[in-house]
C-alpha cells in the first residue's frame, strides 16, 4: 500500500509561491526603484502586521468562520499601548504585553459569542469590530517611542539597525521571526489536538461534537489564538506607523483575510494551511507595494487584488468540483 504522492504543481501553495517570485521579478525588471534594498526592506517591514493578523485569522477561516475585528482591534490595542506609554509612563515591554492581553481578551469575547452563544461569526466579529474601533478612538493619536527615543528598542525586534543616520545598516530580522511563527503554527495546525479539532470543526462540526469532542472549548480557542496574533500584530503595526491614528484600521482585516484565501483556505472551511497564508500575504503585499512603482495608483492595486482573489477562490472551487466528480 503506497500513498500516491500528489504532484507539487497541484498544490496551490506552490503555485502561489511561483506567483510571488514572478511578481517580484516583474516589478524588479520594470522599476529600478523597486529593486532597491530599502524598498524590499520597507515591503517586509509593512508586511509583518498583515502577516501576523493573517496567521491568526487562518484558524477561524478554517473553521468556516471569520474574524472581522482584527483590523480595528489591532489599531485599538496599538493606540491603548501608545497612550499608556506616553501619558502614563509605563515601560514599552508592559505596553506590548497589554496589546497581547487585549487581543486575547477580544478574541475570547469573539470565541464565546460564536462558539458558546452561537452567534454567526460574521455578525459577532462585526460587533467587536465596531467596539474596538470606538474604544480605540477614545484615545488620542499618540506615537510609540521612535527608534532613538527611550523605549525605542522594540523597533529592533523587526528591523535591526546598526549604526546611526543615513549610513546605518538595517536588517529585516522580523522576517526570521515570521518564518519561525509560520512554521510553528503550521505544526500546531497539523500535529496537535487543537489543530486537528480546528479542521474537524470546519469540516463537520456535528460529527466532531457527537464524537465527544468539547467543540465549544475548541471553537472559543480558535478565536483566542486569532486574538493573540492580532495583539502581536498591534506591536508590529506600532513599529512601522509613526503615529497610530484613532478611527483607522477598518479595512486592514481585508488584506489579511484576502491573503489567507489566496493561500488556499477552502472557502467553506475544513482545509487550509499557515504556509499557504504566508505566501498568500506576500502576493497581496507585493501588489500593494509594487504596483505604484510601475505607475499604477493605489486604486488599481485594490482592483487587481480583488481580481486575484477571485481567481484564487475559483481555483479552490474548481478543484473541489473535480474532486466531487471523481
Amino acid at each position: 500500500m503506497t500513498k500516491k504522492k500528489k504532484s507539487i504543481l497541484s498544490d496551490q501553495r506552490f503555485i502561489v509561491l511561483l506567483v510571488v517570485i514572478a511578481l517580484t521579478a516583474i516589478f524588479s525588471f520594470m522599476s529600478k526603484e523597486f529593486r532597491q534594498y530599502n524598498t524590499m526592506l520597507s515591503l517586509l517591514d509593512f508586511s509583518y502586521y498583515d502577516l501576523l493578523m493573517a496567521i491568526g485569522v487562518t484558524f477561524p477561516l478554517i473553521t468556516g468562520g471569520v474574524d472581522l475585528s482584527i483590523g480595528t482591534g489591532m489599531v485599538c490595542y496599538a493606540l491603548i499601548g501608545g497612550t499608556l506609554i506616553r501619558s502614563h509612563g509605563i515601560p514599552v515591554i508592559v505596553a506590548m504585553l497589554v496589546c497581547v492581553l487585549l487581543g486575547v481578551l477580544i478574541g475570547t469575547l469573539n470565541g464565546v459569542l460564536i462558539g458558546v452563544m452561537n452567534l454567526p461569526p460574521f455578525l459577532a466579529t462585526l460587533c467587536t469590530c465596531m467596539i474596538t474601533r470606538g474604544a480605540g478612538s477614545l484615545c488620542t493619536a499618540t506615537p510609540w517611542p521612535g527608534l532613538t527615543q527611550e523605549g525605542g528598542w522594540f523597533h529592533s525586534i523587526f528591523k535591526l539597525t546598526i549604526g546611526t543616520g543615513r549610513s546605518a545598516d538595517r536588517y529585516p530580522i522580523g522576517f526570521l521571526w515570521m518564518v519561525i511563527l509560520v512554521l510553528l503554527m503550521e505544526f500546531v495546525l497539523n500535529h496537535t489536538k487543537f489543530g486537528r479539532y480546528t479542521i474537524a470543526i470546519g469540516s463537520n462540526k456535528e460529527a466532531a461534537a457527537l464524537s465527544g469532542i468539547n467543540v465549544k472549548f475548541y471553537h472559543v480557542m480558535v478565536y483566542v489564538v486569532c486574538g493573540l496574533f492580532t495583539g502581536l500584530a498591534a506591536i508590529a503595526y506600532a513599529a512601522v506607523t509613526p503615529t497610530v491614528q484613532p478611527g483607522t484600521g477598518a479595512g486592514l482585516e481585508m488584506d489579511a483575510i484576502g491573503g489567507v484565501f489566496v493561500g488556499g483556505v477552502a472557502a467553506t472551511g475544513g482545509y487550509g494551511s499557515v504556509l499557504g497564508t504566508f505566501v498568500g500575504i506576500f502576493v497581496i503585499m507585493l501588489l500593494k507595494t509594487g504596483l505604484p512603482y510601475i505607475g499604477l495608483q493605489a486604486n488599481w492595486q485594490q482592483i487587481i487584488t480583488g481580481l486575484v482573489l477571485i481567481v484564487a477562490v475559483l481555483i479552490d472551487i474548481i478543484k473541489e468540483k473535480k474532486a466531487a466528480a471523481l
Partner: protein
C-alpha cells in the same frame, strides 16, 4: 397497460474510470408503474439522469412518444413531460407551497407576479390529486410527506407524462406511503407512465406492474411483478441468495448483567417516559415508524439533545451499575457509550478527512504525547481496524468521502472501538448501504455482541429488526409501546404496537 411511451435502448455511458451504464434497456408503458431496482451503484440513478438530460449518453437511443429524443437539460425534459421527483426534495422552505410549485415560471400580471392565480392553480392541482394542502402555507411547515405531495403536484403541473419517483418512500411514514400509493394509482389510471425506484421489496410488490433489475451498470432483466416472487427479484439483483431468516431466539446469556438502565426519560414531545434495560452482549432492536422518537431517544440518552428528566445508570468498569449524569456527548463517551448516526455524512464522519483522522477523532488523547499527535501510532491503530473490520480502502490515508457507504460505516465503528465503548448505539446501521455490504455489517454487529459489547440498534427495516435483535423495543409517537423477546416477535405484533397510538 397501454402503448409504450418511452423506450431506452442500448444506453451506454462512461465516466473516467467507470463504465456506469453498459448497454441498458428500459421501457415504460402508459398506465404502468415500472420499478427500477438494483443495489446501490447499480446504475439506476445514472440511467434516470441520462433520461432527464442531466447526463448525456455516449451511445444508444431514447424514443419518447414515438420520436427519437435527447434532452440536454432537465428543463427540456420537463417541458416535454418527463419529470423526476427526487429523493431529497428540492423545495425552498421559506417560500409558500404555491410559490414553490410555480418557481421559475411564475404567472405574471403586468410586471407583478400574479399570486392569486398561482394559488388558484395550485388549489386546482391539489383537488385533482385529492390532497388537502393550503397553497399559502410555508413549505417548511409541512411534513416531509406533504412536501412530497407538492413535488408531485409540481410534476403534474408540468403536464408530465412520465414521472420518475426516486426512492419516494425513504422518508415517509406508513400512512404517508399509503397516501402516496393512492396518488400513484390515480396517476396510473390517467395513463401516465411511472418509474418507481425503491429498495423496499414490499412496496414493489404492492405498487408496481413490472420490475426492471440492473446490476453493476448492466441490464439484468424485466419481470411482471405479479408473476414473480421476492426471491426472484432479489436473486436478479445480487446474483445470489441472501440470508433473510429471522433470529429464532435470544443469544444473550440468561444471567447477563444489565449494562444500561434508562428510567422515565423525557425529552420534548418525541421522548415521553421512556424506560428500558440493555444487557451485556445484547442487541436491542428499536422498531417503530418514522417519527416514533427512536432517534430522539438515542440522542437524548447520548447527551446530544437536552432532556427534561430521567435516570440513566451505566455499568462501570468494576461491574457496578450506577447512576450517571449525561449532559453532553462528552459525558456519554466518558461512560463508554458510542453513537453511530443514521446520517453518516452529516453526523457520523468527517468525510473530507482521512480514515486515520476519523478513526482517532473520539480518542485523540490516546494518540497525543503532551501537545503532539503521534502519527505513527494513529496509523498503526487505524490499519489494525481496517484489517479487523475488513474495511475496503486502498490506504489508511484515503479520504472517507471516497469510500462506499458500508465502508464509511466501518470507519465510524472503528472510531468507537478505538474508544473501547461498551455500549454502541447503531442508528439505522445499514441505511444507504447495498445488500452485500449489509451482510458484512450484520456479521460485524453479531461479532461485537458475542465479544460482550451491548448494542442498541434503531432500524426501520422489519427484516433487519427480526434478523438482528435479541429483544425488541417498539416505540410509537414518543412512547414505548412494546418490549418483546425475539422468540415471540412477528411482523404483525411489531406493526400492531408500532401503530398503537395512531388513530
Amino acid at each position: 397497460m397501454g402503448e409504450v411511451i418511452l423506450t431506452m435502448k442500448d444506453i451506454d455511458k462512461s465516466f473516467p474510470g467507470v463504465h456506469a451504464l453498459d448497454h441498458v434497456n428500459f421501457e415504460v408503458k402508459r398506465g404502468e408503474v415500472h420499478a427500477l431496482m438494483g443495489e446501490n451503484g447499480a446504475g439506476k440513478s445514472t440511467l434516470m439522469k441520462v433520461l432527464t438530460g442531466i447526463y448525456q449518453k455516449d451511445s444508444g437511443s431514447i424514443v419518447y412518444k414515438g420520436k427519437e429524443t435527447e434532452f440536454h437539460n432537465t428543463r427540456e425534459a420537463q417541458d416535454a413531460g418527463v419529470v423526476i421527483v427526487h429523493q431529497e426534495l428540492n423545495m425552498v422552505g421559506d417560500l409558500t407551497v404555491a410559490q414553490n410549485i410555480f418557481i421559475g415560471r411564475e404567472p405574471k400580471k403586468g410586471f407583478r407576479i400574479d399570486d392569486k392565480k398561482m394559488i388558484e392553480e395550485s388549489k386546482k392541482l391539489f383537488q385533482e390529486l385529492n390532497i388537502e394542502i393550503d397553497p399559502r402555507e410555508k413549505m417548511h411547515n409541512l411534513t416531509v410527506g406533504k412536501q412530497q405531495m407538492c413535488e408531485i403536484a409540481k410534476a403534474i403541473s408540468h403536464k408530465a407524462e412520465v414521472i420518475i419517483f426516486d426512492e419516494p418512500s425513504a422518508a415517509l411514514t406508513e400512512k404517508e406511503i399509503a397516501d402516496l400509493f393512492v396518488i400513484i394509482r390515480d396517476l396510473r389510471e390517467k395513463g401516465l407512465g411511472i418509474v418507481y425506484i425503491s429498495h423496499r421489496m414490499d412496496e414493489i410488490k404492492v405498487i408496481t406492474d413490472r420490475v426492471t433489475v440492473m446490476r453493476d451498470g448492466g441490464y439484468v432483466g424485466t419481470l411482471i411483478t405479479k408473476d414473480s416472487t421476492k426471491e426472484d427479484i432479489i436473486n436478479m439483483m445480487v446474483g445470489r441468495v441472501i440470508y433473510e431468516d429471522p433470529k429464532q431466539h435470544s443469544m444473550v446469556a440468561p444471567d447477563a448483567p444489565v449494562v444500561l438502565k434508562v428510567e422515565h426519560l423525557n425529552a420534548g414531545k418525541m421522548v415521553q417516559d421512556v424506560s428500558f434495560e440493555l444487557r451485556k452482549g445484547e442487541i436491542l432492536g428499536f422498531s417503530g415508524l418514522m417519527g416514533a422518537g427512536r432517534t430522539e431517544t438515542a440522542r437524548a440518552l447520548f447527551g446530544a439533545d437536552p432532556k427534561q428528566s430521567g435516570k440513566i445508570s451505566v455499568m462501570g468498569k468494576d461491574g457496578q451499575l450506577r447512576e450517571v449524569t449525561i449532559n453532553s456527548p462528552q459525558d456519554a463517551v466518558k461512560y463508554g457509550i458510542g453513537y453511530l448516526s443514521e446520517d453518516r455524512r452529516r453526523y457520523g464522519c468527517v468525510v473530507q478527512k482521512s480514515c486515520i483522522e476519523n478513526t482517532t477523532l473520539a480518542t485523540m488523547e490516546q494518540f497525543t504525547k503532551g501537545f503532539l499527535i503521534d502519527s505513527a501510532k494513529e496509523k498503526e491503530v487505524t490499519e489494525k481496524y481496517i484489517k479487523e473490520l475488513a474495511t475496503k480502502t486502498p490506504t489508511a490515508d484515503q479520504l472517507v468521502v471516497n469510500l462506499s457507504g458500508g465502508n464509511q460505516q466501518k470507519v465510524v465503528i472503528a472510531k468507537w472501538l478505538t474508544r473501547d465503548s461498551d455500549i454502541l448505539i447503531f442508528d439505522e446501521p445499514t441505511r444507504g448501504i447495498d445488500v452485500g455490504a449489509k451482510n458484512e455489517i450484520y456479521k460485524l454487529m453479531n461479532k461485537l455482541a458475542a465479544e460482550g459489547k451491548s448494542i442498541i440498534m434503531i432500524s426501520s427495516e422489519m427484516t433487519e429488526v427480526l434478523r438482528m435483535s435479541d429483544r425488541i423495543i417498539i416505540m410509537c409517537e414518543g412512547k414505548v409501546t412494546g418490549n418483546i423477546d425475539i422468540s415471540e416477535a412477528t411482523q404483525e405484533n411489531i406493526m400492531d404496537k408500532a401503530t398503537r397510538s395512531i388513530d
